[in-house]
């Protein structure tokens, strides 16, 4: 496998198992739709990052709605979500939610069983990468992970590339929303 260097070098993979890089929104949508019990882990940076004046949290909530995915709000992002009229299905910190997720017998945020696909979005990249590592090493039997941040995360199962330009990222997110709407 050719090495993709993550944008932030503190996240360089020292090992052998790195994320599959996916640039096609339809493929992402397909993976999300195939999952039985996906979970959205949304971080506090979503209420700081914006693309053309639209906060990333708004994209995240649109995706959640389009694909009907339950949300776990980490850190203090819940505040912004509530402001936008959405109550998250659960509130844990990043390290806490992965701590629960790594247990195959955990009942999940909906109490319907543990999740099989966990999508991370909006956590500072070094912490997000560490959280992905927890799941890569201790939950590989029962779940897969995916990221929607602008950069490549080697410890995930599926990751976006390092987008050079915000427009590429924006286009991906918009395509993903429309793919999910199509599929739904």
């Amino acid at each position: 496998m050719s090495a993709m260097i993550p944008f932030h070098r503190v996240n360089v993979l020292t090992g052998i198992k790195s994320a599959r890089l996916i640039e096609d929104a339809a493929e992402y949508a397909n993976l999300i739709q195939k999952a039985k019990r996906p979970l959205w882990v949304l971080g506090p940076l979503l209420s700081e990052w914006a693309l053309d004046g639209k906060l990333l949290i708004e994209y995240a909530l649109e995706i959640a709605k389009a694909a009907n995915i339950p949300i776990c709000a980490t850190a203090h992002v819940k505040g912004k979500m509530v402001e936008l009229g959405v109550k998250p299905d659960s509130v844990y910190d990043a390290v806490e939610i992965v701590n629960a997720l790594k247990d195959p017998d955990w009942r999940g945020v909906k109490k319907e069983g543990n999740h099989d696909l966990v999508i991370f979005f909006g956590i500072r990249s070094d912490l997000e990468e560490q959280c992905l590592s927890v799941l890569k090493h201790f939950a590989f039997n029962h779940l897969k992970t995916m990221t929607l941040d602008k950069y490549y995360f080697p410890h995930a199962n599926y990751s976006l590339p390092n987008f050079r330009k915000d427009e590429q990222w924006k286009a991906f997110l918009e395509d993903l929303i429309s793919e999910l709407k199509k599929g739904g």
Binding site: A75, D93, D126
Partner: protein, 768 residues
């Protein structure tokens, strides 16, 4: 049932070492404990607070069988799995931390015993009788002289050897046992730190038994650069105190400016309130590159490993004063002073000088000679704009920045003369210099940043050492009952997301009448923000160990006084014997003392062992986001875990369902989240209804402030009866509890883990 066994030779030897015949308290079950002695306590802790591992690396490469791929359940050629490998790395980190402090303690003891003799009495002043709570609890020895401290540190050395041994190929194979060993190493770290700081207090006459220590000037602008400047970097005060003595004795103190970075700065200002604190570790490289220091004296821990190279760039001169760090320099300890000075002045050479007196004399002479010829100017606005203008927005700097900072935008702003945003960014910079070396345009980024660096100065209170016994007597009851909502210890290094975070947290909690204690870099940065009337937290809040007090305890080694204060509460207030009685102390602290550590910028291995040592003693620690890179936390899962404790009064096991404290080593993503977690981690099962309602009041109000309103999702777990509900939220909370079908439960009179796991400690031992 206990048959009286004859003492083994080893036990006899230990009893001799700890002077067991002196009956200040009966000797408890674990004098000078070895690896297995507190293992069952560790396993009990680890049952609730399970290790959480985030491997940095898929591989192990520690022996030539490797590299071994440890992914997806694979084991290495030796049989090791990924969890055990993480635990081994953690143990190594804790051992590095522990040995850094133990080495520091050993060096300083050697120096002070040389100076004062081994019989120099330990006297911590009128208000401190319990002089060494960690040492007494762990070893069972009541140290009376510097010589006794040597006995203690030799015990620590011995344990370090056995612990390090276990990390070798083909040894320990259980992650839980490695964790137990890491907890052991880290408990010993607090012993080593206590040895170091008691020795320093006694040997250098640092303040003790006093709260109102002098206020010190802090910030690079506080340094008078028109004078010769000697900069001290590191942790060991043998260098700095000797320098100050030399300057005083030779009437040079008016002519030479002494400044410090990192803990040495804190130590130096305990010795002389005229010395200046430049700032925490994160300002080291930045300040060195300013060229303001004529001579840089390094000692140990947290100093730049490229100091001579950096010094050359601005023609400062370096003296390496301790054998831990010699930089490959020529050892001039036995040279003639004049010759060293000559070579440093004329040939711009750096030297190792391991005799503090000689190093002091050389530093002063060199600084006096070279200062008039050296340039010490901050960059001009024009030059900064021009350099920043070379930026092509390539992002290479951002890619290597450990704090993930994008500098391209800042360079653009600076080139256009807009300094506000770059100034905010500079507040987040941890000063590593990685951006500089990566920039393809060779922009000296840190130098350019001089133009936005704050030229303010701040006031910080000098470190005061141990908490006084009298203070413990006053706060013991309100703390254990919960009416003082908690003791918060802000400790650790400067790898935080933002330099203002610590000050903001200290301000928030001191205002809420928590007791706030601080050490090390955290103590410095807490003072680097001005609140109302331009005052820092040290000027706004009283220096007492009491509700709403803000106490600078001192340097890193002063962390032992924080764990020491927790032990003092158990011993002085609750009257539980502490001698060789670690398990009872830890059980008391975990279950009954609402204390929480906050290591927001933890970065070093020392911070790993300081934090892990707090954990073994039952003090939970909140870490900043970078600390996920330590790769191990201790987390519970509140809904699923077992929250049973023994009610020692009723002698029955009670299922409380109450996750207090919820985690003992936890990473908060943001300052806001930390502000919500900290009050929660101060909740203890023995809180009185009044105490609990005060604690919940803070928990709810901080939750509302930072989480956008509403009630905490887990609030119901912490309400035992209606009386626990804070008055202001009574109505809303009652409605909420009714909705979710909450049922009241009996508070536990005397909660303890003793009796819930196999231990030699009888239940009577925790009843006071």
């Amino acid at each position: 049932m206990a048959e009286v066994k004859a003492l083994t030779k080893k036990q006899e030897e230990v009893r001799q070492l700890i002077k067991a015949e002196i009956p200040w308290e009966p000797v408890g079950p674990t004098p000078m404990p070895e690896i297995p002695d507190l293992r069952s306590w560790d396993m009990r802790l680890l049952k609730t607070y399970k290790p959480w591992y985030a491997p940095f690396c898929d591989l192990c490469c520690l022996c030539t069988y490797g590299k071994c791929d440890l992914t997806q359940g694979r084991r290495g050629a030796c049989g090791l799995d990924i969890a055990t490998q993480q635990a081994r790395i953690i143990l190594l980190a804790c051992l590095m931390g522990c040995s850094a402090h133990a080495g520091h303690a050993g060096h300083i003891l050697e120096f002070l015993i040389e100076k004062h003799g081994p019989d120099k009495k330990i006297d911590m002043g009128t208000f401190i009788e319990l002089e060494a709570p960690n040492i007494r609890t762990v070893t069972g020895l009541k140290p009376e002289t510097l010589g006794d401290l040597k006995t203690v540190i030799e015990y620590v050395y011995k344990e370090i050897t056995y612990l390090l041994d276990s990390t070798h190929f083909g040894q320990e194979g259980s992650y839980l046992d490695y964790e137990s060993k890491a907890l052991h190493a880290s408990m010993l770290d607090h012993v080593g730190m206590e040895v170091a700081d008691i020795a320093q207090i006694v040997g250098f006459d640092f303040p003790t038994s006093v709260a109102n220590t002098p206020m010190i000037d802090m910030g690079w602008e506080a340094v008078d650069k028109s004078k010769p400047v000697i900069l001290l970097v590191g942790h060991n005060p043998a260098t700095s105190c000797t320098l100050i003595d030399y300057l005083r004795e030779n009437n040079l103190y008016d002519k030479v400016e002494v400044a410090g970075i990192c803990c040495t700065a804190l130590e130096t200002t305990r010795y002389s309130d005229r010395a200046k604190i430049v700032g925490p570790l994160s300002r080291q490289l930045f300040f060195i590159r300013s060229g303001i220091a004529d001579v840089i004296m390094t000692d140990e821990q947290c100093i730049r490993t490229d100091m001579p190279i950096e010094a050359d760039k601005v023609s400062s001169r370096v003296i390496a004063c301790l054998d831990k760090v010699m930089y490959g320099l020529e050892d001039a300890t036995d040279w003639d002073t004049e010759e060293i000075v000559k070579q440093m002045v004329e040939d711009k050479k750096h030297f190792a000088i391991l005799d503090p007196e000689k190093a002091a004399e050389v530093a002063a002479q060199v600084a006096l000679k070279i200062s008039p010829r050296r340039k010490k100017e901050w960059i001009s606005e024009e030059e900064a704009k021009e350099l920043a203008g070379k930026c092509t927005q390539c992002d290479m700097c951002e890619r290597v920045c450990p704090n993930l900072l994008g500098l391209g935008k800042a360079m653009k702003d600076i080139s256009e003369g807009n300094f506000d945003e770059p100034q905010k960014l500079f507040n987040k910079c941890i000063g590593c210099g990685k951006c500089d070396q990566e920039c393809p345009q060779h922009i000296p980024i840190l130098r350019v940043m001089q133009v936005v660096a704050s030229k303010e100065t701040w006031r910080i209170r000098a470190g005061r050492g141990a908490i006084m016994d009298t203070e413990i007597r006053n706060v013991g009851a309100p703390l254990t009952l919960g009416t003082i909502p908690g003791v918060l210890a802000f400790v650790g290094c400067s790898n935080y997301p933002d330099i203002d975070d610590v000050a903001d947290m200290v301000y928030e909690f001191a205002k809420r009448k928590y007791i706030v204690v601080l050490t090390g870099c955290a103590a410095m940065v807490a003072g680097m923000k001005k609140f109302q009337d331009g005052k820092t937290v040290y000027e706004l809040f009283p220096p007492d160990f009491d509700a709403g007090g803000v106490v600078n305890v001192g340097s890193c080694v002063s962390n032992a006084h924080i764990t020491g204060a927790a032990i003092k509460i158990a011993n002085i207030f609750a009257a539980l014997p502490l001698r060789a009685n670690y398990e009872v102390m830890a059980d008391y602290v975990l279950n009954r003392v609402g204390a929480c550590g906050v290591a927001w910028g933890a970065m070093s291995q020392k911070a790993a062992s300081i934090g892990t040592g707090c954990n073994r003693l039952g003090v939970p620690v909140v870490l900043g986001p970078h600390s996920s890179k330590y790769r191990r936390l201790y987390l519970s899962r509140k809904e699923e875990d077992d929250w049973r404790v023994m009610d020692a009064r009723k002698r029955e096991i009670v299922d409380t369902g109450e996750p207090s404290p919820e985690h003992i080593a936890y990473v908060a993503e943001t300052k806001e989240k930390a502000m919500v977690m900290i009050p929660k981690l101060c909740i203890r099962k023995n809180d009185t209804p009044q105490g609990r309602s005060i604690k919940l009041n803070h928990y709810i109000s901080l939750y509302r402030k930072y989480m956008g309103g509403g009630l905490p999702e887990d609030l119901h777990l912490f309400v035992r009866r209606d009386a626990d509900i804070p008055l202001v939220y009574k109505k809303e909370v009652r409605i909420h509890l009714k909705e979710i079908g909450w049922q009241p439960k009996e508070p536990v009179g005397l909660p303890t883990f003793i009796g819930t796991y196999p231990t030699k400690v009888p239940l009577e031992a925790v009843i006071h």
